[in-house]
Symmetry: C2
Subunit: 683 residues, 2 copies
Amino acid sequence: MAYNDTDWKAINTIRVLAVDATSKANSGHPGAPMGMAPAAHVLFQKFMKFNPKNPKFLNRDRFVLSNGHGCMLHYALLHLYGYDLSIDDLKNFRQVGSKTPGHPEAHDTPGIEVTTGPLGQGVSNAVGLAIAQAQAGATFNRPGFDILNNFTYVFLGDGCLQEGVASEAASLAGHLQLGNLIAIYDDNHITIDGDTNVSFTEDVLARFEAYGWHTQWVKDGNHDLEGLEKAIEVAKSVTDKPSIIKLTTIIGFGSKQEGTHGVHGSPLKADDAKQVKAKFGFDPEKSFDVPEEVYALYKETADKGAKAEEEWNALFAKYKEQYSAEASEITRRFEKRLPEGWQTSLPVYSTSDSAVASRKLSETVLAKIINTLPELIGGSADLTGSNLTIWKGAVDFQPPSSKIGDYTGRYIRYGVREHGMGAIMNGIAGYGLHIPYGGTFLNFVSYAAGAVRLSALSQHQVIWVATHDSIGLGEDGPTHQPIETVAHLRAIPNLQVWRPADGNETSAAYYIALTSHHTPSVLCLSRQNLPQLENSTVEHAMKGGYVVHEDKEANITLVSTGSEVGICVDAIKTLAGQGIKTRVVSLPCWEVFDTQDQEYRLSVLPDGIPILSVEVYSTLGWEKYSHEQFGLNRFGASGPYKDIYNKFEFTPEGIAKRAKATIDFWQGVSVRSPLKRAFTQLI
Amino acid sequence: MAYNDTDWKAINTIRVLAVDATSKANSGHPGAPMGMAPAAHVLFQKFMKFNPKNPKFLNRDRFVLSNGHGCMLHYALLHLYGYDLSIDDLKNFRQVGSKTPGHPEAHDTPGIEVTTGPLGQGVSNAVGLAIAQAQAGATFNRPGFDILNNFTYVFLGDGCLQEGVASEAASLAGHLQLGNLIAIYDDNHITIDGDTNVSFTEDVLARFEAYGWHTQWVKDGNHDLEGLEKAIEVAKSVTDKPSIIKLTTIIGFGSKQEGTHGVHGSPLKADDAKQVKAKFGFDPEKSFDVPEEVYALYKETADKGAKAEEEWNALFAKYKEQYSAEASEITRRFEKRLPEGWQTSLPVYSTSDSAVASRKLSETVLAKIINTLPELIGGSADLTGSNLTIWKGAVDFQPPSSKIGDYTGRYIRYGVREHGMGAIMNGIAGYGLHIPYGGTFLNFVSYAAGAVRLSALSQHQVIWVATHDSIGLGEDGPTHQPIETVAHLRAIPNLQVWRPADGNETSAAYYIALTSHHTPSVLCLSRQNLPQLENSTVEHAMKGGYVVHEDKEANITLVSTGSEVGICVDAIKTLAGQGIKTRVVSLPCWEVFDTQDQEYRLSVLPDGIPILSVEVYSTLGWEKYSHEQFGLNRFGASGPYKDIYNKFEFTPEGIAKRAKATIDFWQGVSVRSPLKRAFTQLI
Ligand SMILES: [Ca+2]
Ligand SMILES: [Ca+2]
């Protein structure tokens, strides 16, 4: 437990590297790394289990820097411990194409677990990482074989603690009694607006106690390495509560401006940088200058980590002998291979099958596949009975002492915490052994927008079961009826938005969502019943779009999604009565349709006749696939859903009226498919 | 303080009306009204200051039902007290076009202060209402003239307490020591997933104590009217802290299913409804049957309220004699009239003025108008120095005891609480005397999506100062660079999204935002400098779109917004070198442009030549104004902003390349303006 000069040298090296990198970039946040370097040193030297040569070592401890703006702290550690991050990478801090972007991105940098920076996300991801460990450990560990027993450590600052998403996740973590989660709170009394006393005077530890966390306070985070080490030890020993350690530090420790927000978000002035180096025994004229003894000290720890992985590998080999099915299962899930033939469980439908709400179709899919895909870990933000996200025989993921479930449970009661659920699912996915899905009303996916965009950016396979997907939810009214939501989701890169129109399309949505290991999905599902469509097959729907009703002599193509496809089909007859021949196209997933070859796409949305889109949402974006748009560019209404559809004319007659207007308007014009474009977008 | 049989009759009338209305609608939530009827009775009979004949009485107490699904509780009260809400309105509960939608909507129903239902919003609105009272009271009250001294009362349930937005707002309310805010927490142990013990086991009162609230617990909310009355009295007497009273109740009290989630979200079964009526002394065969003595009892209170308003009017008349400027100011602000000639303060620019970041231009506007428009109440979610939302001489809105501001202050330090800020601004706007604006990075407006959509639905005049509006923010990288955000905002009905390209456009954005009293606005502002454009005037930009550079012989129109307009202007020369003549259009606000007459719009985006849009966001929606789109349908990158613009080819050369491709592609086609459509949308 004793710390010597080399320890302090290492701590000061981290500080100086943060000063140098932010100075060279002329951008970035030196203050947090300088303040938290002692804590990072203690944590990584004394506690963290990790192997820099294999950042994906399965049973590694997870480290999350929730105050991601302090990422030079983590980059410096990764470099010093010998991860694949060179001193040149540090010199390229915040440059285009570097491995050291302005905030940590999981897929850019070895050793970064989750993408952080947007405040509150990292600590919520950490709750997910801890849930994943608890679930996997309870599922796979056997007497004498503690195969999965890692801890999750998270650093966070005042900003993270003010964000609601973190409050949601922290409350749930307390409820779940996650003893494998240890948070270190950088209590530096500074946010961007200055002293925390301008807006943040609550008693943080008392709040976390109220959530059911174990709390400690280390009062001198700048010097008291022993005190912090002791606190982490105590935290590890508390196995039935998550722990938070408040660590009072001085932001920008060593700078002439230490303790002020002046060191938060800007590089140090040149003379200040020099005096910092001199103060810490570095040559003020040199930059990126790492003492050899620091590399040596950290290499020792890295080597221990490599050895720890070797020992784990040996343990796992023995485990495999005794528990071969379990071991294969861990490997399979780690390699993101789904069980052979799993997809044969997906239900298929024919037109003679009865009309069913797509939320109910989703429930049927889950019932069929849940036992085949043990990596699926479900849940809902307190709408289980409405989202239909649970299955018969489901066990709740709950602390065993609760007597209402245990840690092998695969159904998570997230509570009314949509944003927390989204961020926690990112953490669960980031652990590497699960595919999380979570239910809420589509309208409330917007509460989680901050987490959804990070799923997409971080390439986490997360599935939203988003029911009550339109005005079709009826009486709950405009406060609950999404209008803009799907346009928002469709505008997020690397996110697949599905709005299935029937049973086969619902199965296709799940098939693609479950096989897209680097892309999150949102499944928009109806409350009301939907008929099984002509020409709908799982294979067709898997293309993202297909022809539901073909007519080679058609005057118009109707393109639609979800609950409106069936109404379009009904409009065929109405239009036929007016001598108009109609094609109908279903486009359940734009993003997947866009990946088909142009020949196929043009067979679905061809030249020659105008295309009218029909969807009970904002028409924003539909011009990409249609010449005219019928949608809802206003808020909805409260009432029985059929009355609302009538009010807004989403009926065969309302569609026919607009189809007729479309045909008249495009009469005599040589009609080109909107899929034909002058140039290809940068992806 | 004594309660008699008529009181209980009234309480039970509320319960029975909730049963009848949900039964008739065959939809809705009887449980919360049945459980909270006693609390509502005590609050409205003994404390609330209100006049049903004038729901807008300025100094009324505000009541917010944060668990808005229980709205039959509030509708029943409004009817019984004689608001303009008839028994037939109750019979039309949850029907299309009724004044009694499925969740309370402020503009639909007299007596509803704010739109609630999306959980966590109402209590956060209440914090805003309380801030507005504290600010207006401190500003306008004078010795002997407590003109504005109302309380804000809020009911909330377990769901609201789990939402992060409510945590954010509650923490800030504690910091601000809002003694005028009293929350009553319906502790009924039930959420949709069943018992709260599945996900919500924190100690709520301890958490609120940690926030700095005064807390009390009334253990028998079903019977103990005196206890609740006493608790509210105590809460009122605590003037330096907001108060929360935990009131333990039985959901669906009186039903055979009381105390279960079976009564939460579905009407009672017919036989259960009958036994409830019989139990409470009502004729089981009758519906919507209100005893005359209940009307009489409530009329007495309503009459007292009318008298209280008369007294206030008399006081205000005297106040007007002594403080005529202040009185006129209150009236002016209440009537939503801006001071005569205020707009002459708006800065104007010419092309010879230097290039300035639009966040800085926004700061200049605020500096110029802030003293002219005392209704403006600003703030930032802990990014004051980046959003540039503060002005010289600003006083912080802070509790006087903090010594760093006082309640007359007009600058709110929201902390890192974007969603809370959005919901609080809705409450401030809802109070009726302020126009709130709040700053954050554009990317983090998404954290507040739930509140933004309610600003729009509730027609609250709220202004977001959304800086760092694109990849142009540079080094912070993709975690902070909005791609999808503006598409999302543009898809929200009744929201004006501005992305000004220079100084005059920034002034125009503020002009329209400040004069649109029933529409929220988001101003998307750059971090980087932008040149002052040719042909840009405040009047032109006020149209939402105009021609920046005309050329009657042009081969192409470039249409763009914000920071890309200047690059389009630079591309004119590049294209001229290739023999191509170019028009450039700036479209800073789609929604405002859409309200111009078609002739003007077609003069801006005419037939005959193809139109290429240029914007560093998702191209989603741009097809509405252009034939081809140049945008960013992927996440950004971390680096100096010019490097990022180069990487993605948002340069004169990159634009010229795509303009050339556009012209070639549309060669020989008779080009129709995309503004010409086959039919008019339902708005
Ligand atoms: Ca801090
Ligand atoms: Ca409840």
